[in-house]
Amino acid sequence: MTITNAAFAIERMLKASPARVFAAYATLEARSAWFKAPADIETLNRDFDFRVGGKERFHARWPSGMISDFQATYHDIVENERIILAYDMFHNGEKLSVSLQTIELRPEGDQTRLIHTEQGSYLVGGMEAVQGREHGTTWHVDNLAAVLEGREPRALS
């Protein structure tokens, strides 16, 4: 089992007050209106307990048959300011990553700057198991170069 530690950040300016953005996180109804998978998926389990120590789960079957499982625990919540959660991500029962996600809401005029910072431990053994099942494991040099060239070069920075 190999582990890669990596971090990424996402920033968004949102045309809403921090209170409205925070509210979009705080109830299952609001959260479900935007936190959802793009494709037609079958929800297997959905838990939501938005308080420090509370858990969230989004367990679903995708059209491809793949089963994803997002299991989070809220570690810090300051109304209209920040949310910190840690989550495990599983695909087909394999744990692929453990991540710490920090969401900061900063008012700027009548808008909100949302800063999402995510630090993760990515578990290669789990990933190889999933990829091995889905794509086979043999690699050729041409594929290798194509992937190296085609991969999002610094989108991760």
Binding site: T4, A6, A16, H116, E118, M127, L144, E152
Partner: protein
């Protein structure tokens, strides 16, 4: 922000620029091999193979492990690509969620000014 630099990628491309080294990577894509197994089909000396291996290892494409008198080589890059792809997917996933958040906020915006 990502905690590995762009350098490894340059090293990987440099390492793959050589046809002999590409042949070695291709061979290892089918499974691990000892240095002498790697050298056998190649028109080069064992010491040249060892040199090439060193470059592949420095580029993070190949790893080798010595057990007793035999050095066994295997491909490292598959794992690396898998991780990068997965991290990229995680980031894309959240970007997409924020697109949806923006749409939701627009949909539910109060008619007058934002309160």
């Amino acid at each position: 922000m990502l905690q590995y630099q762009s350098e490894p990628l340059d090293l990987a491309f440099q390492a793959l620029a050589d046809p002999g080294r590409r042949a070695m990577v291709e061979r290892l894509s089918f499974g691990s091999a000892s240095v002498s197994e790697l050298a056998k089909p190649l028109p080069m000396t064992l010491s040249a193979v060892v040199q090439h291996l060193k470059i592949l290892e420095e580029a993070g494409l190949v790893k080798s492990e010595k057990v007793g008198r035999v050095r066994t080589c295997s491909l490292e890059i598959t794992a690396m690509i898998g991780v990068e792809r997965w991290i990229g997917e995680r980031k894309r996933f959240w970007e997409q969620q924020y697109d949806q958040l923006e749409a939701y906020l627009a949909r539910t915006a109060p008619k007058e000014a934002d309160q």
